[in-house]
Amino acid sequence: MPTGVPIEFAHLTKTFGTVDAVSDLSLTVEPGQVTGFLGPNGAGKTTSLRMLLGLVRPTSGTATFGGTPYAALESPLATVGASLEAASFHPGRSARNHLAVYAQAAGLPKTAPEAALEKVGLSGYADRRVGGYSLGMRQRLGLAFALLGDPAVLVLDEPINGLDPEGIKWIRLLLRGMAAEGRTVLISSHLLSEVQQTVDDVIIIAHGKLVHRGELSSLDVSDSKQVQVNADDRERLAEVIRSAGYTVASLRSGVLVENAEAAEIGRLAFDAGIPVTALSQKRTGLEESFLALVGEEGAL
């Protein structure tokens, strides 16, 4: 079983002209868990990952796998599996040959492409030309490329983008399984909600800078709790709640109460004799904190 090594960014900086795409990024991604690398589009996620993989030269700083830069790894594909956002396929080549090309270049066993296709469920389509693949199939093929060398470290850029709900569930289980085996798993996304159920740890960057680092639950700092409630006589319901001292906002499907517990709002309605048709507690902490961290431009 391959054991993951930590991914280490140290003062990583990339400047394009006068623009700092990534500035002074320092952090460690530990093995044994799934780490989400989050930020709005253009925040510098892809540039950071490309520097980590030796595709883009940092202006300063380093990005290594347990101290070794990608280009210095003895057997790169067998150590780190990566899939980047850009669909890097020759459309006229079959999936099997696509993988064979890179397995050969990396000196991997002849059986590697077949095994990788098996893992991502593409065996049945292996001899079709990639040009005819759907977005979801391309995502799976990108993942097959990453898994080619059975690596202990996985670096995936937007792996969930383009997958159908079934695919999302599948990749979630796969990634969690790999992390449980002790591998290092780093996945990027511009949507927190997309990876919320997959990641243990989050790294959030905005404008090339680290803005948050910690467990997923650490994001849920806001104590604003909302309750959504509805009744046939919505006007009276809102009036009753407002007179109890709450801030009320009108929604298309009911009334939104700020800083409230569902149980309390239910009791208010019951005491006033209003039959409630819907009542739910909303916890918006994660998404709100995320948006607050990445700023206004982080509009999703």
Partner: protein, 267 residues
């Protein structure tokens, strides 16, 4: 060892898409038509219209040399496309992930294209000699297939085609845009160079420069070409000098291209 792996990988790239045989089929048709057609004109029709233009003993080589004289555009195009398709399909990302030492990746491509170019050479010669010898024999001209000089010519032609393919690699690294590379290959080989060669033959000093044009160097290496007939001043280069000129162009272009495109950030 890593270089061997890179060459194997590049061969799989070549063989797993359709381009190589599509280009080979077009090349065979084009070369066979030119060789067979000119063999018929020079050995048959030509003799009746006031004596042969070319001495009969030189005729077979001239006809066979259509393999390189018109066929060379195919290996150069293939070599260029082998590089530009990496840029076009963003395939450099997986290529460099599998082999982060970019010198090795490019060297693997260079060696592979040298071999693929040689195979194009063999195919082109089969076409020119097959069609040419058949037509010559039909008109009663000895196709000289047993002549060792012809076989030495065959060897030099295969080498020329191999070198053209790596000139293509050099061009592709210098001009990574696929469309631009195709336009340059076609414009230079089909139009600009013939014009330059003709123009340079007018004065002595320009002829000295003209012999270093790649097409002229290629003809010098091969030792026979329809263009050598058209410019009787000929070329001053020895066959091995012609080979060195081609190899030099390929290596210099590839090394410069390595720094201008291959080594750059992939994003």
């Amino acid at each position: 060892m890593k270089l061997v792996a890179a060459v194997r990988s590049e061969f799989t790239k070549v063989l797993s898409t359709r381009l190589w045989w599509v280009l080979a089929v077009i090349m065979v048709g084009y070369v066979a038509l030119c060789a067979g057609g000119l063999a018929a004109i020079l050995s048959g029709v030509g003799t009746r219209a006031g004596g042969p233009v070319v001495p009969e003993a030189q005729l077979p080589l001239l006809i066979y040399s259509f393999a390189t004289a018109v066929g060379y555009v195919f290996p150069v195009l293939f070599g260029a496309l082998a590089v530009t398709s990496e840029f076009r399909f963003q395939a450099l990302t997986p290529t460099f992930l599998a082999q982060p030492r970019r010198v090795i990746a490019l060297s693997g491509k260079f060696i592979t294209m040298l071999l693929v170019g040689a195979v194009f050479g063999v195919i082109a010669l089969l076409a020119s000699m097959g069609a040419g010898a058949g037509v010559l024999a039909g008109f009663g001209v000895d196709p000289l297939l047993g002549d060792p000089e012809v076989w030495a010519f065959v060897g030099r032609s295969v080498l020329a085609m191999a070198l053209w393919a790596v000139i293509g690699v050099g061009l592709g690294t210098l001009v990574p845009s696929q469309v631009a590379a195709i336009v340059i290959v076609l414009a230079f080989t089909q139009f600009l160079e013939p014009l330059l060669r003709f123009g340079s033959s007018i004065t002595d000093w320009s002829a000295q420069l003209g012999q270093f044009l790649p097409g002229a160097a290629s003809d010098a290496l091969v030792g026979s070409s329809i263009f050598l007939i058209a410019t009787p001043a000929g070329t001053g280069l020895e066959w091995w000098q012609g080979g060195l000129v081609l190899a030099g162009i390929a290596v210099v272009a590839t090394v410069i291209g390595y720094f201008t495109s291959w080594r750059r950030d992939v994003s």
